[in-house]
């Protein structure tokens, strides 16, 4: 009789261990996939009712204590974080890469195809004013550079693309960019083509054009060039 009881106890233990292990797997996966730290009550919803969530968290904290990733209590919830002594592996101040905005993509594409091009010309093509930050982002990303100044009233700055632009977009040369027929063939342009829709042959030859002057005084603020 005593033996039978012991066996039942063993079995119950085993069941409890099993339930705890399963709960640990669940909480682990939830914390891993979550964008934000998750509060204990939130985690408890996905865990078998007979397993207290505190047990699960204590268990995980212990499991991960000496690992490369540890379980932290942050902002009223729990999250996995890189172990502090391995912080050197990370670039904490760096933000994860963000998608380039639609406006920036359009501006970049116009500069690529129509270079050398002034800000006013970009706005003429896009039909909207270019936000201050948009060109900054492209300059900072190293995809766009100041080429020179257009030999026209106000001497606006001209923009062009950089080798870094080619590199990022996997282009060998700037005229790898598809022409109108190719854009159409690949389905980028649909329907009947407007007669006056033309796509220039892109050219990033760094030498200045006939109507371009050297940048010259770099201290002249960029906006001045566009003021007229």
């Amino acid at each position: 009789m005593a033996a039978a009881e012991a066996e039942r106890e063993d079995e119950e233990d085993w069941d409890a261990d099993e339930a705890l292990a399963r709960a640990c797997r669940i909480v682990e996966a939830l914390l891993f996939a979550s964008v934000q730290p998750l509060p204990a009550e939130e985690l408890a919803k996905s865990v078998p009712a007979n397993v207290p969530i505190e047990r699960v968290i204590a268990e995980l904290q212990q499991t991960y204590a000496l690992r490369g990733v540890t379980l932290h209590r942050v902002a009223g919830g729990y999250a996995f974080r890189t172990a502090p002594d391995l912080a050197y592996l990370l670039a904490p101040e760096a933000e994860p890469p963000r998608k380039l905005s639609r406006a920036a993509l359009e501006t970049l594409a116009i500069i690529a195809y129509h270079q050398p091009v002034t800000r006013a010309e970009i706005e003429e093509i896009r039909g909207v004013a270019t936000a201050k930050g948009t060109l900054d982002i492209l300059l900072e990303a190293g995809w766009v550079r100041l080429r020179g100044r257009r030999r026209s009233p106000g001497r606006p700055v001209t923009f062009g693309t950089t080798p870094g632009f080619l590199d990022h977009f996997g282009l060998d040369q700037i005229d790898d960019l598809p022409g109108l027929e190719e854009l159409k063939g690949a389905g980028f342009i649909e329907g009947r083509l407007a007669k006056d829709l033309t796509v220039p042959v892109p050219d990033d030859d760094p030498s200045l054009r006939d109507d371009e002057d050297p940048l010259g005084d770099l201290f002249t603020p960029l906006d001045d060039g566009d003021a007229s």
């Binding site: 891993f32 979550s34 990370l90 993509l105 990303a141 829709l197």
Partner: protein, 272 residues
């Protein structure tokens, strides 16, 4: 089970397999090859040993039934039907002496191979679809961190995004200013109204050109853009009024002035 279409959950209507009568369901097929493959499956034999002749006949009878029901068939289906009718005739007739064209047997084999290839790639696609997919079955870290040595760019953009943005933007801008200006025309109704007044005035032969010029001036219609439409509509209206017996028209020679006169109330001459 192995013979079942692997894609039925994709909203494709269920297709009865192995039924003797053909189910007319053109919408359910993705083109003639898809239809042929389904018909071939109903032969319940390996595609490599299929009777292409029987298949051609089934396809042609399918098309006939569809036409009898006045179902609209895409041109693709009719092209395939024409080709299969040709293949069928080639297979039934004795083979001509070796010529330029491939033999009927070669054509039949090629078709069987094409069907097999489609079936194979469908199976492969199905195998792909049931794999564990990222974002559906397995998940990546929700709050990733940036690795110091990665040197990854701060901004993400694909060539595809760049081209799509450029193409859409250019197209949008080009389309915007395109507006079709309203064409200025003198409608037939208006022309008839103008002529009805003339009928009142023209008891004798009257030059129509002079009348129309006066009409345009008095109604503020610009001569440079409206003359052609006024002339055309007026001529149509005049012919209509001649037919109704309201007017007589006279022209002494080609390109000479056109004269118009109210028809007198006498009955039309017999035999005219």
């Amino acid at each position: 089970m192995a013979a079942e279409l692997p894609f039925q959950e994709d909203g494709t209507p269920e297709r009865a397999s192995g039924e003797p009568s053909l189910v007319i369901d053109v919408d359910g097929y993705e083109g003639p090859l898809d239809l042929l493959l389904d018909l071939a499956r109903r032969q319940k034999v390996d595609l490599a040993r299929i009777s292409i002749l029987a298949l051609a006949e089934q396809y042609l009878s399918f098309i006939e039934t569809a036409r009898a029901l006045r179902l609209e068939l895409a041109a693709d289906y009719l092209v395939m039907a024409a080709w299969l009718a040709y293949l069928k005739s080639r297979m039934l007739l004795p083979e001509p002496p070796k010529g330029e064209e491939p033999s009927a047997a070669d054509l039949a084999t090629a078709l069987a191979l094409r069907l097999k290839r489609l079936e194979t790639i469908r199976a492969a696609a199905q195998r792909l679809a049931i794999r564990e997919r990222l974002g559906r079955d397995v998940f990546a870290r929700g709050a990733p961190e940036v690795i110091a040595s990665s040197g990854r760019p701060v901004w993400e953009a694909e060539l595809y995004d760049l081209l799509a943005a450029y193409a859409q933007q250019r197209q949008k801008r080009i389309r915007q200013p395109m507006s079709v200006g309203q064409r200025q025309v003198l409608s037939l109704v208006e022309a008839r109204e103008a002529l009805a007044r003339l009928v009142g005035e023209a008891g004798e032969w009257t030059a129509i050109d002079g009348y129309l010029t006066r009409y345009m001036r008095s109604h503020g219609l610009p001569a440079e853009t409206m003359t052609a439409t006024v002339r055309a509509s007026s001529l149509s209206a005049m012919l209509e009024m001649v037919r109704e017996g309201l007017l007589d028209l006279r022209q002494d020679g080609a390109f000479s002035p056109l004269y118009v006169r109210r028809r007198s109330a006498r009955p039309p001459t017999l035999g005219l």
